[in-house]
């Protein structure tokens, strides 16, 4: 087998531009009050990235605190069950706090400290980013408030309790559907008021520039490790790499190193799995890339679920981490460029994949990650029984026990 996964400098993929645009997507669409704070953030981020001390500190924390590198595990029984040659699972579920979110929260909280901010805020859907940020804040002695929709507080009671234990305030958001999008809006509104002493730790690759780029940078450790681990294992060829997409941070963290380091012709098929909820033919889904049209929400331009008058719509998914009406701007650009393929996975398919991984490998995935796993049977049909596929298991499923029980899993 050829070593096509060896890094190359040939790739022409480079974005965003200086104003934070990925093709036409991204940018800065926010009230004037926070523009100077975004400029200050961009500058501090640039300086930090070029500071070996910052990189060392983050690297140390990722290794000794988070437990990185996470394993790339060969899931043989799962591969057999779905009819694929080889399936590798990138085990982000084994991170401290149980998901990939901690990679970004630690990075941004370190930035906050460098910038002299003693208080951080965050939004959260499933609660994973909230818990990760509350954890990083506890570690670094920062004050922390997490905005969370009332519906998500109901669905994810355990994570709410964890955040409070960690010393964070959980601010309930009752506006709208009481889910992730409402939490982002509430956090942005609060930030406009407290912009001088507060750092907003955004949890996904969304928001105004430079946030999408910052989150991508801190999550790229996922794809970088994966490329290195494939090489160590002597895997010279991969047919497809899959990740779930809500805002899209675990996906961009996995995909970006493949995009940056590999030329188009040797790059595996990159597949993003969005939430189809009850079906994309219904109005109960979160499939912004499959069913949305470009628009502006939460400070950036991207595919968006919206009505004819340009109002963002409420998204739905069984997964509190994927029911977002927008999607990170870089994903919109990657979709248009044909560099990543995006497909939608229903609640029922995700639950089936959740059960399958649990029963075949003894790994209980997050319901978000189960959307990525649900792509395996589809890819087996397309790529054949010898194909090699990598799936990012972005988080573990402990938080989802009530949801899967309500859905009737494990009761037979």
């Amino acid at each position: 087998m050829s070593d096509v996964l060896l890094p190359s400098v040939e790739s022409a993929y480079s974005s965003p531009d200086a104003q934070g645009f990925y093709g036409p997507y991204g940018g800065t669409f926010v009230p004037e009050t926070v523009i100077p704070a975004l400029a200050e953030l961009a500058k501090a981020y640039e300086t930090a990235l070029n500071d070996p001390e910052f990189r060392n500190e983050l690297g140390y924390l990722l290794r000794d605190y988070v437990g990185r590198p996470t394993p790339l595990y060969k899931a043989e029984r799962l591969a057999e069950a779905v009819g694929l040659g080889t399936v590798y699972l990138k085990r982000e579920d084994l991170n401290h706090t149980g998901a990939h979110k901690i990679n970004n929260s630690l990075g941004q909280c370190l930035l906050a400290k460098r910038m002299g901010k003693h208080r951080v805020i965050a939004e959260t859907g499933a609660g994973q980013h909230g818990v990760a940020t509350a954890t990083a804040a506890a570690l670094m002695g920062l004050e922390c408030a997490v905005f969370m929709g009332v519906e998500d507080i109901r669905r994810q009671a355990l994570n709410v309790y964890k955040m409070r234990l960690l010393g964070s305030e959980v601010v309930p958001v009752a506006e709208g559907g009481g889910t992730l999008a409402d939490a982002v809006t509430a956090a942005l509104r609060h930030w406009v008021e407290r912009v001088e002493d507060t750092f907003y730790v955004i949890g996904s690759t969304v928001g105004p520039h430079p946030y999408p780029a910052i989150v991508r940078e801190f999550q790229s450790v996922i794809g970088e490790e994966t490329l290195a681990q494939l090489q160590v294992k002597g895997v010279g060829h991969v047919d497809a790499v899959i990740a779930c997409v809500g805002g899209g941070s675990n996906a961009i963290g996995m995909f970006y190193p493949f995009l940056r380091n590999l030329p188009d012709e040797s790059r595996p098929l990159l597949v993003g799995a969005e939430a189809a909820g009850l079906g994309i033919e219904t109005d109960k889904h979160g499939a912004a890339l499959t069913k949305g049209t470009p628009g502006v929400m939460h400070g950036f331009y991207s595919y968006l679920l919206q009505d004819d008058a340009g109002n963002p719509l409420e998204a739905y998914s069984i997964s509190a981490g994927l029911d977002y009406p927008g999607v990170g701007p870089e994903h919109s650009s990657l979709k248009d460029a044909g560099l990543v393929r995006y497909e939608a996975v229903t609640d029922a398919e995700a639950l089936e994949a959740f059960a399958l991984l649990t029963r075949t490998e003894g790994i209980i995935p997050a319901i978000e990650s189960s959307h990525a796993l649900a792509m395996l049977p589809r890819l087996a049909a397309e790529l054949g029984p010898d194909a090699v596929v990598v799936v990012n298991v972005s988080g573990r499923g402990d938080k989802d026990m009530d949801i899967v029980r309500e859905a009737g899993l494990g009761t037979d």
Binding site: G27, F29, T33, P36, G295, V296, G299, A309, G310
Partner: protein, 266 residues
């Protein structure tokens, strides 16, 4: 750049030899007829400029009063939005002594309708200007919108904030038309018990960056606050305190008269 041939109706409205009162109302609240009655009442009570808000599902820069009004307006009359607000404005423009109307909308409804269509319909409705709080002046889409707006005599008003650097203030002052909107304090729209002590200095910095009239909004709600701001600015924008009374045109008219006389006492 050649000066526009059409005199800016907004600039004229701010140059009456006294500060101007800018009244914000929410389109379609409490319903279409109610918002038209409110427009009539506010015009009659002496507002110099009226800002007409477009109900939107995700009003990022607005506080609870305006959020609520937007929600009610969207729930009635088949989801009141930008198209309905422009229709309402066209009807309001036929009211005698109607002051210049400025539309305040978030960007996405404009993008959905398309800038040329928005500008065309706004011009037909007699709209004097647009305020788009999530469109900073240096965003590439601001240039696209202004090309459409300018050619139809529509001003685009940008916002200056307490956090704005001198470079940002220069940019806002240079790109704005009609007037410059000074955000009095950090946070979203809504009444505040006190305006910040640094407001006078902020208005001074904005003045130094532009030759346009300078109006102050966010948190101005009482006749006393209006009178204080009238001492430092060319215009005072009152929003939430009016929207709170928008379902009662009589009370609304009385309140606006009290604000108008607070301006004139200066």
């Amino acid at each position: 750049m050649a000066p526009t041939e059409i005199p800016s109706r907004l600039e004229v409205a701010f140059r009456k030899g006294r500060p101007a009162l800018v009244a914000y109302l929410m389109g379609g609240y409490p319903d279409r007829a109610g918002s038209l009655a409110a427009l009539r009442a506010v015009a009659l009570a002496g507002a110099d400029v009226i800002e007409l808000g477009v109900p939107y599902a995700d009003p990022l820069a607005d506080g609870p009063v305006i959020q609520h009004a937007a929600k009610v307006a969207r729930a009635r009359d088949g989801s009141f939005g930008l198209a309905e607000t422009l229709d309402l404005a066209a009807e309001a423009a036929t009211i005698e002594d109607m002051p210049p109307l400025v539309v305040m909308t978030y960007l996405n409804p404009m993008m959905r309708m398309g800038f040329p269509v928005v500008a065309g319909r706004a011009a037909e409705a007699g709209i004097a200007g647009f305020i788009v709080p999530d469109l900073p002046p240096d965003n590439p889409m601001a240039a696209q919108w202004m090309r459409e707006a300018r050619s139809r005599g529509i001003d685009t008003v940008f916002l200056a904030a307490p956090t704005s650097t001198p470079e940002r203030l220069a940019l806002v002052g240079e790109r704005s038309a009609g007037f410059v909107y000074v955000v009095s304090s950090l946070g979203v729209t809504g009444e505040r018990a006190e305006l910040p002590a640094e407001l006078t200095a902020l208005v001074g910095r904005v003045r130094a960056s532009t030759s346009l009239p300078v109006a102050v909004g966010f948190g101005v709600s009482t006749p006393q606050q209006v009178s204080n701001v009238a001492g430092i600015a060319d215009g005072i924008i009152v929003g939430s305190a009016l929207v709170k009374r928008q379902d009662d045109p009589v009370a609304l008219g009385d309140f606006v008269r009290s604000l108008a006389s607070a301006v004139q006492r200066r």
